[in-house]
Amino acid sequence: MLNREIISIFDMSAAAGWVLEPDAKKIFKLAGFDVSEFAMARTAPEATLFAGAIGYPVAAKVVSPDIIHKSDVSGVALGLKGPEDLEKAYKRFSAMPGFIGVVVEKMLSGVELIIGAKNDSQFGPVVLLGMGGVGVDIYRDTAIRMAPLKREDVELMVSSLAARKVIEGHRGSEPVDMERLISTLINFSQFVMELESRVDSIDLNPVMCSGPNCWIADARIILKASASS
C-alpha cells in the first residue's frame, strides 16, 4: 500500500511531527481506503465554491500545524446549511493560531467509529476499534489487538465492545456492514505494519459507517519522534 507519493507526504510532514488532516486523508485515499469527499480551501470563496459543488449541508474544519485536537478549540463546524454559515466559520477559523486553511466536506451520517493504531514499544503496531466521536476518551469503549489482524480478531473486537449492539443495529437502526468493517480493519492493520518505522499513532475518528460504506471522515497521524527530527 505504501507508495512513493505517500512517502513524500510523510517526508513533507516530518518537521511538524504530525500529518495535517487533509494530508493524512490523502495518504489513506492513496492507500486505497474510502475517504469522504473533501477539499482543502485556502480562501473563503474556494470553500464556498467547493461546498456549492458537493451540496449543503457541509462540515468545515480548521487546518493548522498548531492544532492537533480541532474539537478542543472549537475548530470543527458541522451541519453548515449555506454559504453564509460557511463564510462565518471560515472567518472564525482564520483567526486561530497557525491557520493555513479549511477542510470542507460533505456531512455524513451513520455509526461513528474510531479506528486507531499505536506503535507500542513492546508489541509493535496495535489496532484499536471503538465508538468514535468526541466522547471516545470519556467512554473508552474500545478493543485493542496486535496487528496484523485476522478476520476472527475483528469479530472478537466487535463482540467485546459494550457498543456492539449499536454496530449490529440497535432497535431498528441500520447495522454496520460487517464485511466492510472487517476488510477495512484488516487492510488498516496491514497498512500500519508497513508504517511501523514512521508512525507513532493514528486516529481515524470518526469513521462513518452507513449502508455498505465505511468512510474515513477525519484522520490524524502522529509521527515517530525520530522520524520528525
Binding site: 486507531g116 513492546q122 484499536l128 471503538g130 485493542i144
Partner: protein, 455 residues
Amino acid sequence: MDFRTLFEPRTMAVIGVSQNNERHAANVIYNKNLYRYPVKVYAVNPKGGEYYREKIYKSLKEIPERVDLAVIAVRAEYVPSVLEECIECWVGGAAIISGGFAETGRTDLMDKLTALASKADFPVIGPNCLGIYSPAFVDSFFLPSERMVRPVSGNIAIVSQSGGILVDQMVKFAGQGIGLSRAIGLGNKAVVNEIDMLKFFARDDMTEVIAFYIEGFGPGQGREFVTAASRCPKPVIVMKAGKSEAGSRAVSSHTASIAGDYKIFSSVMKQFGVVEAMDEYELVSFCESLSCYPTSVKGRIGIVTASGGHGAVAVDKCVESGLEVPALTAETQQIIRNKLSPKIKSLASVSNPIDLTGSSHDDDFVTSTSELSKLDNIDCILVLLLPYLPEVTSDVGARLAQIYQESGKPIVAYVPHVEKYMMIIEGFQLNNVPVADSIDGAILMVEAMKRCNPC
C-alpha cells in the same frame, strides 16, 4: 542454547565460596547442593584452600571434569572475567547471582556480559537473580535450606523477573498443595529472558503449565513472546506488575492516550490465548486448575452442593464471570432424583445447582456428579463440598475424582482448607482434581479453563 543442562546438571561449580563467611550466598548455595541434591558440586575461589574438609578450587580450569552449571556469586566487577573463564572451559551455562549491574547504574558491566555470552552463544541467567530451582536436581537460590518452603514436585514451571515474588509464589503453591516442575528467577535478563524460557518449557517433559511474573518486556519482545505463546501447546499464564500508567505525553492522539501500556498488554495476551492473572490468588488458582486440565471449556457449569446458600453464591459468581449455569431438563432431573438416597429424595433440589441438603450421603454426591458428567450441555462440574456433614465421609474426594477419570469431564471442588479435611482434599488432588479453598477460588479455576483458548 541448551537449557536442559542448566535445569538438570550433573556437575556444578559455585564460584565465590568463602572460607570463613558461612552466610555468603556462594556458601549457602554450595552447602545445600552438596547435602541435598544429586549434583556433584565444586567450590571455587581464586584464594583456594579448604571448606569443611572439601577442596576449594582456584579456578574452573582446575576442576577435573566438565562443569554443566556455574553459579557465580562474586563481586560484580569480577563477573566478566569469570564468565570468560566459563566459556573457555566449555561450561554448560551460568547463573549470575551477584548484583551491582544495571540495577545500580552499571549498564556498562551488564553490556559486557551480554556481549560475551551472545558471542559464544552461552546461556546466562541473571545477573542479580535467584537462578534455578529444579526439584530433585539443583537449587541455586541463596536461601538457606531450612528457610525455604518447597512445594511438592509437579508439572508447573514458574518464571519470574523478581526473586522475591518467585519465593513468595512457591510458599503459596506449597500452601495449596500445588506441584512445581521448575522455578527460575531471571533477574536483570542480560542474556536469557522470558521468551527463551517459554520456548524451553514448551518442550520440557517435566512441565505442563508455564506461569510468568512479568514486569515488562524489552523493545519488540512482547510481540515475540505472544507469538511463541501461540505456538506453545501448553497453557501459559502471566501476572503483570506495573499496571498503572506513567504520566501522559504532551502531544498525543486519542488512540495513544486510550491504548496505555497495560491495556495493550492485557488485550494482546487475551488475543493470543495467554491467561492473565490479575493477582497472586488468581495466579495460584489458574495454575492449579490448568495443571490438572490443560483443556479449554466453553464455561457451562453444573453445580453440586449440599447447601442452597453455596449454590446461590456460586451461581452469582458464575454469572459475574461470564460462565453459564444451564438448566437441566425435567427428564434429567427425574433420573437424578430417582437415584438419590431415600432420605433426601423428596428434599433435594435437582435443578442446576443441585442442592443435596445437609442429610446427603457420599453416594448422593457421586450419583449427581456422575449424571452431570454425562450431559452434553455441561462442560465442567463444580462440587461445593460441605465436609462437616454427618454422612459425608473422607472417601468422597477420591470417589468423585474417579468420575473425572471415567468421563474426562473436568471437575473442580471446593473444600475448606483445614487440617481435618485434608484426607478429602488429597482424595481429589492426588487423583488430579483441583481443590479450591473458597467458592470464588473454584470459579476462578473454571474461568482459567475458559480463558485458555488454544490449549
